[in-house]
């Protein structure tokens, strides 16, 4: 079953806007333009997934978008434990011998994204954007920065101050890395995206030199606020802030109940 549901926050927006209007009554020059050429992104909340499957889904969506079909999409998921390799360093930069990974049940996958080695696992919110940068009039660097600002907005919901660091991409909290970023762009359509640690098994990060940096200390939102952060809350906050930062409408597609895989 396919259905879509427009973000109900749209109902709340006029209230906030009215109050702003009372205050400043400054005309919004961009508003008219935005109305005629709205950015809309379809949001798919996939739950826990295997990396490969979402990877091939991303490729399909990117392919469609490149050919002028399809829509801009935002995939939100948690992966089963997996280590992915970026383009910039195709050799796994591990801190443990390879057989150890097998004991943990962690696979290693090569990808086409930029960046270095990273880990994905349950408790980590991974957001993949398939966005036509030409249509949205965003540069590659700006796109990355906006993704980071989305995460900073999510962190702020829980009172955590995230930072962008000029020397290194990703989002940092007090010198510890909380979100990692890596994208691929083909004919100005992006894939891959940003991974925010909500409450993952942090010990898995010790298996690799994250992002190729041996000294980097990883952290998670739960660790920063010292309490459990439910993933659905984080997902919802991410969608909200994505819409806010990118100035786009988010339309959550109900992916329905996930059918069991046929043998």
């Amino acid at each position: 079953m396919r259905s879509s549901q427009t973000n109900r926050r749209a109902a709340a927006a006029p209230i906030a806007h009215d109050r702003k209007a009372e205050r400043t009554s400054a005309p919004d020059d961009n508003e008219a333009q935005r109305v005629t050429d709205p950015r809309i992104i379809k949001v798919y909340e996939l739950g826990t997934t295997d990396y490969d499957e979402v990877h091939s889904l991303q490729r399909r969506l990117q392919q469609q978008r490149r050919e002028g079909e399809g829509t801009d999409s935002l995939l939100l998921t948690e992966h089963r434990p997996v280590i992915t390799l970026g383009r910039s360093h195709p050799e796994p930069d591990l801190r443990v011998p390879p057989p150890t990974l097998d004991e943990y049940g962690i696979r290693v996958v090569q990808t086409e994204r930029g960046g270095d080695i990273t880990y994905h696992g349950p408790g980590q919110l991974v957001a993949y954007g398939i966005v036509d940068l030409k249509a949205w009039e965003i540069g590659v660097v700006d796109y990355a920065a906006l993704l980071e600002q989305t995460v900073i907005g999510v962190l702020a919901d829980w009172g955590v101050k995230g930072e962008q660091v000029p020397a290194a991409r990703g989002v940092w909290v007090g010198g510890r890395k909380i979100a990692s970023l890596g994208i691929n762009v083909r004919r100005w359509v992006t894939m891959h995206g940003i991974a925010l640690n909500i409450d993952p098994d942090m010990s898995h990060f010790d298996l690799i030199n994250s992002c190729g940096m041996p000294d980097v200390e990883m952290t998670s939102l739960s660790a920063e606020v010292a309490k459990q952060v439910p993933m659905p809350d984080a997902v919802e906050a991410f969608v909200f802030h994505f819409g806010r930062v990118f100035e786009c409408a988010t339309e959550t597609v109900d992916v329905g109940k996930r059918p069991a895989r046929r043998a």
Binding site: D102, I106, D254, P259
Partner: protein
């Protein structure tokens, strides 16, 4: 005509990117749309495609860091010579910007690097395990755009309907329909209400874990405790899973100092329930006064209770399944609002002063119920959406305001007092969060909402406020009672 292949501009200003790999060797024939080379930054890999059919000729070696806009290759028509003869060659800085053309990154420049083949071999068993039948269910591929662009019209989601009181009528209708169609039995309200709770489920035992409002009337209980032990004693005595007290500036009593507040907010694992930071409201008041020196709220006092919303969530899910298919939206707030409305309606002290959240308009002097909260807090946004939807449904019958504030529970929204003097009542809905509840020694996962009642203590007796909160909690924790309207 030679078509230049350049390094695209990736961002504002000057910058460079690495020409990482040539997909097409020097002299290869390419068609328009073929990938020519890969550009890399520290975070992005960009595949650059050919704009033209022809023969590609490199001017830059792989592994060279190259400024934006620089030409790295030409695509020539068959038989055409490199443009080097006719046009000035590309600036030499392109190639000599690196001292020597670096070979592609050596594989062993890091201590931890393992050859990929070894790793893939070592994790082969894991790969196999992922193929096993107990692997995760597959993606719902149907939900995504098909390979062929589908021409079907978008499915219009049913408009969210607010729960009570029309729900009772709908239940009856549903039951009437289901009598004819036994395949789809409706929600059995009475069964839900009377069924014994599942083991481990939250059960409200009157007198045992009930919030005792009279406790608040004991002298001294509303003053700031001196020590942590005192806090603990109070918690245990009151059966309040969490309670926070705060006094605003303008109250006759002395405002607790920061250190006293800190004693209250320190989480203590021995305290029952979660400890809510009481300092927040006070700190916000301080922030308020920093922002607007002239702002003095009218003696507000804050009460907070932690409410177990597990049942409300269950009920929401059940109702959602029943009426709206799989379009599950977090409507807990609707149930909570209904509970608040009912409790307000039942409370004589508050009924005099308030029109209530959409239950029915009351005659006589009316005040407005505010929902206050932090605009940046996610669940509050939901509450606002619920309120907006409610207001849309009920129109003028809904004397209910949503107030957004960026300062938390009590605050100003860009200079406007959220709790103006004489406004007796305000609810703030805090974050719904997962907590561990202990029944005996067994921990149970529960969702908890911190509900804050802030009101003018000059206009409202503490006991009435406490009873109101107690009733709200009771209704939210056993929401099926709301159905028996």
């Amino acid at each position: 005509m030679a078509v230049p292949v350049t390094v695209p501009r990736l961002g504002p200003g000057d910058g460079e990117a690495l020409v990482a790999e040539w997909y097409q060797p020097d002299g290869a024939t390419v068609a328009e749309g073929d990938l020519v080379y890969r550009l890399e930054t520290d975070f992005a890999a960009i595949d650059v495609e050919a704009d033209e059919n022809g023969v590609v000729r490199h001017t830059t070696a792989a592994g060279t860091s190259t400024p934006f806009g620089e030409v790295v290759a030409y695509i020539l028509s068959p038989g055409e010579a490199m443009p080097g003869e006719e046009v000035p060659p590309p600036e030499p800085t392109t190639v000599v910007s690196e001292e020597a053309p670096e070979p592609p990154r050596p594989a062993t420049d890091r201590a931890g690097a393992y050859p990929l083949a070894d790793v893939l071999r070592a994790t082969a068993a894991t790969d196999a395990a992922h193929e096993s039948p107990d692997a995760l269910p597959g993606l719902p591929w149907d939900a995504f755009p098909a390979e062929e662009p589908a021409g079907g019209e978008a499915f219009e989601a049913p408009k969210p309907v607010l729960l009570f009181p029309r729900i009772v009528n709908e239940l009856k209708e549903e039951a009437a329909i289901a009598e004819e169609d036994e395949l789809d039995p409706p929600l059995d309200v009475t069964a839900e209400a009377t069924e014994p709770a599942e083991p481990g489920a939250w059960e409200l035992v009157p007198g045992e874990n009930d919030f005792n409002p009279d406790w608040l009337l004991e002298p001294g209980n509303l003053t700031a405790p001196e020590t942590k032990e005192e806090v603990r004693t109070r918690f245990q005595a009151s059966n309040i899973r969490s309670l926070a007290l705060g006094r605003g500036k303008g109250h006759e009593e002395e405002t607790p100092s920061k250190s006293e507040t800190a004693a209250l907010v320190t989480p203590d694992p021995e305290l029952p329930g979660a400890v809510v930071p009481t300092g927040r409201a006070l700190n916000n008041l301080e922030q308020l006064q920093e922002r607007r020196g002239d702002y003095v709220p009218g003696s507000p006092l804050f009460l907070r209770v932690a409410i177990d919303v597990t049942e409300a969530t269950k009920m929401r899910e059940q109702l959602t399944r029943e009426w709206w298919g799989s379009n599950v939206r977090p409507l807990d707030q609707d149930i909570i609002l209904r509970a608040i409305a009912r409790a307000l309606h039942e409370s004589a002290a508050f009924r005099r002063r308030t029109d209530v959240v959409g239950v029915r308009p009351l005659s006589g002097t009316s005040r407005t119920v505010h929902l206050l909260g932090d605009a940046a807090t996610r669940p509050f946004r939901d509450a606002v959406a619920s309120m907006a939807a409610l207001r849309e449904t009920l129109g003028a019958e809904m004397p209910c305001l949503c107030t957004l504030t960026d300062l938390g529970d009590l605050g100003l929204d860009d200079g406007m007092p959220a709790l103006p003097g004489g406004q007796p009542l305000a609810f703030a809905m805090g974050a719904v969060r997962d907590v561990a509840r202990f029944e005996g020694d067994k921990p149970r996962r529960a969702s908890e909402l911190i509900l804050t009642l802030s009101y003018d203590s000059d206009a409202m007796p503490e006991g009435a406020a406490a009873r109101l909160l107690s009733r709200v909690r009771e209704l939210v924790e056993a929401p099926y009672a709301l159905l028996a309207d």
